[in-house]
Amino acid sequence: MEDQKVIDLVKELVNRLLSQSQTPNPNQPISTNPNSSIDSTQFNHALRYAIRILSSRMTPSIASDEAAMAESIKRQLVTQGKSSEALTFADLYSKFASKTGPGSINNKWAVLYLLRVVSEDRKLANKQPNSTVSRGLPAIFDSQLSDNSRVSNDKEVGWSGGVLMVSKDPDNMRDIAFREFANLLKEESEVSEEVLVRDVLYACQGIDGTYVKFDEIIDGYALYDSIKVPRATRIMVQKLCELGWLFRKVKGYISESMDRFPAKDVGTVGQAFCAALQDELTEYYKLLAVLEAQAMNPIPLVPETVTSGNYLSLRRLSVWFAEPVVKMRLMAVLVDICKVLRGGAMAGAIHMHAQHGDPLVHDFMKRLLRRVCSPLFEMVRSWVLEGELEDVFSEFFVVGQPVKAESLWREGYRLHPGMLPSFISPSLAQRILRTGKSINFLRVCCEDRGWADAATEAAAAAGTTTGRGGLGYGETDALELLVDEAAKRIDKHLLDVIYNRYKFKDHCLAIKQYLLLGQGDFVQYLMDIVGPELSEPANTISTFKLAGLLETAIRSSNAQYDDRDILDRLRVKMMPHNTGDRGWDVFSLEYDARVPLDTVFTESVMSRYLRIFNFLWKLRRVEHALISAWKTMKPNCITSRSFIKLQQAVKVKLLSTLRQCQVLWDEMNHFVSNLQYYIMFEVLEVSWSTLSNEMEAAKDLDDLLAAHEKYLHSIVEKSLLGERSQGLYDTLFVLFDLILRFRSLADRLYEGIYEVQARSTDDKKKLSRQLSSRSTEPGSWVSEGRKALTQHATKFLSSMSQELDDIGKKYSSLLTGFISELPVQQHIDLKFLLFRLDFTEFYSQSRPNT
């Protein structure tokens, strides 16, 4: 019964169609048309034909999706430029779709499909006669289905050969060939191309399709082996599905990272990277959506026109996929690299891949990097302008560690080379580090707030706001500018603070004056005052007493006019002492630098100052000793007259001993005063002047530290305190000890002489008072008269002369050793010392063989 109904309806349809096709052609000369009336043969013929078509098992090539179909029709209208009609259609469709329930059309999709196909056919038919585009080949469906009724189109094709082909044979041959081809295709593959395209599209979203599935063994998407398709198709599907494999990888990374995120393992840069990848994937999804919509359209066997419809074949798909595959490959590569990396290292690794000649890749990487680097640049910005280390996941290339205030500058922050992305040069990184460090130093050590203004000013000068998100990847110049501006201002501010508020220069000068014994009168006083005290054993000396003496020395010298703040910092320090050490060995001065200057004058720096002080102190002491020896020696020209009474032999002996003593003293004095001069003027003052110049030129604290370091180093090196001149230094100390011995010897000598003198005068005056006072002297000769006196004097003088000779010999051998070592020293300035000591070439001539 159903069939009967269908037949009736078909009959009606054929009838309507045939009659309709006649009537709407009023402009045609109907009279010439032999088919003006529907004769029964024609009707039967048509009916048969229609039934045959309907009974054929043609199936729509696409899935039955009503909404998608409507969408497709609408888009078609839009592409034809009929947007208003498209809107009307959409409106109608929504009403049409809402009609449900009894009486409504059940198979709405079928209706829509019918509408579309018929309208397309109409359009083609309308276009064709006027179309200048050669229609290569007829559509397969047409040729397959029409037996003999289709001639019109093919005939038209004939014009391209230049001859109007009337014969039907070529057409038929063509049709037959096409049919055969289509059959061949069907035989070869069980699965139609549309289905494969759909499956490939699924695979590219990481979803298993009906035929294309993920294969764990080959690690990729592939067609089932059991499905019969041509080899070429299989390979092509496999190639296309590379995209799916890559997609899976990228997607997997993103979801993994996002899952891991709360565990603090990914970091902000990693997050940014994931977000950027996600955005790229969104783009990719858009493309897939378009492609999927296109996949709705059936694939003709051959393209109808050059600009034929928007269908998707595997080949078209491979063209569509060309660009996404490149991007996806790139993303997969990046994902691989970045799996183990974090923070700056990740950005650096991505940057390494941005160096690419392909503009597509380049742009893509740039876009990606801009996203990835934004947290990093944000960190740089806040570090440089605010000194804040906003680095929760330790991704930044500046690493901070909690330290005490005095070592904040040197150890508080350091660069993490692993996290330094390669697009930031090491020198720039250094500057970035220093700028932030300066801010922190100002904040922590100097308790200064003025840097904020400097930072704002710097940001304004660099043309960025102090707000977030001012910088991005690829704007390395802008970053450099910002860093430079900020560094310039903040460093300047820091130096201002250090110089003006903390009086760095004054303190340096004070250290030079007191610790390096630059203040002559003060040193003299101090030496005079503490001298007797320091001769005591070290363990009996009281620091407080020495402190009192220091205060006295300050008050009695020009140092009293110095700043109170500076003088307060000057202290006496007793070094740890062993038994048998004298006060001289342990006494030293100390200067308390305090925060923030202890960044410059660290403990190690101060210990070097202490070494220099000890050396200078010793030198001063030797000089002082020599001077005081001179004081006792000086009056001998007067006293020598009083020795007339002595025997001639004794007198000669006395005079020769005195002369020996004088010569030795002179030699020592020459050496010590020249050494002293060298230290003061060639070493200290020269180094100080260099330091002063460099202090002026210093642009930041590092420069200042370097200048100071250089200053100290040059003093140490030139004063023979360096490691390389250790031997020379030791010789020098032996020389000093010798000089000190000489001093005590000279004292004894003169004491003896005075006594002899006193005796000889006593002989005349017979003053017993003096006698009793000398009772401690081990001299029974005192009372034995003139002869015994002479005898004793001779004995004393010869022993003295012996000792002097001894010291003199030792001294001269040591000194020549010392002088001969000077020229081989590394430091050029030590040669000046040699010139100075051996100015008259006395020493070099006395030992010509060396």
Binding site: E2, V6, L9, V10, L13, V14, R16, L17, L18, Q20, S21, N25, Q28, N33, N35, A46, Y49, A50, I53, L54, S56, M58, T59, P60, I73, L77, E85, T88, F89, L92, Y93, K95, F96, K99, P102, G103, S104, I105, A110, V111, Y113, L114, L115, V117, V118, S119, D121, R122, K123, A125, P129, F141, L145, S146, S149, R150, S152, K155, W159, L164
Partner: protein
């Protein structure tokens, strides 16, 4: 109930007809209703479309070609 169903059917047909007009199908209301009925009976729309196309082409070929051919040559 019956009148409801008829009205729905009429409305649907009307909408389909308007859509077909927009798509410039050149079918009258009756033909369309026959086609819709066939669709609802489960016939393949693809085949139906072919029928419409083929049967409409048949008569027009004889009138089109003579009119066009001289113009082209």
């Amino acid at each position: 109930m019956d009148s409801d169903a008829t009205r729905t059917a009429r409305d649907s047909l009307e909408l389909a007809f308007q859509m077909s007009n927009i798509l410039d199908m050149g079918l009258d209301r009756h033909t369309l209703s026959v086609l819709i009925a066939l669709c609802d009976l489960g016939l393949n729309p693809e085949a139906l479309a072919v029928v419409v196309k083929e049967l409409r082409k048949e008569p027009s070929q004889s009138s089109n070609i003579p009119a066009d051919a001289p113009a082209r040559s």
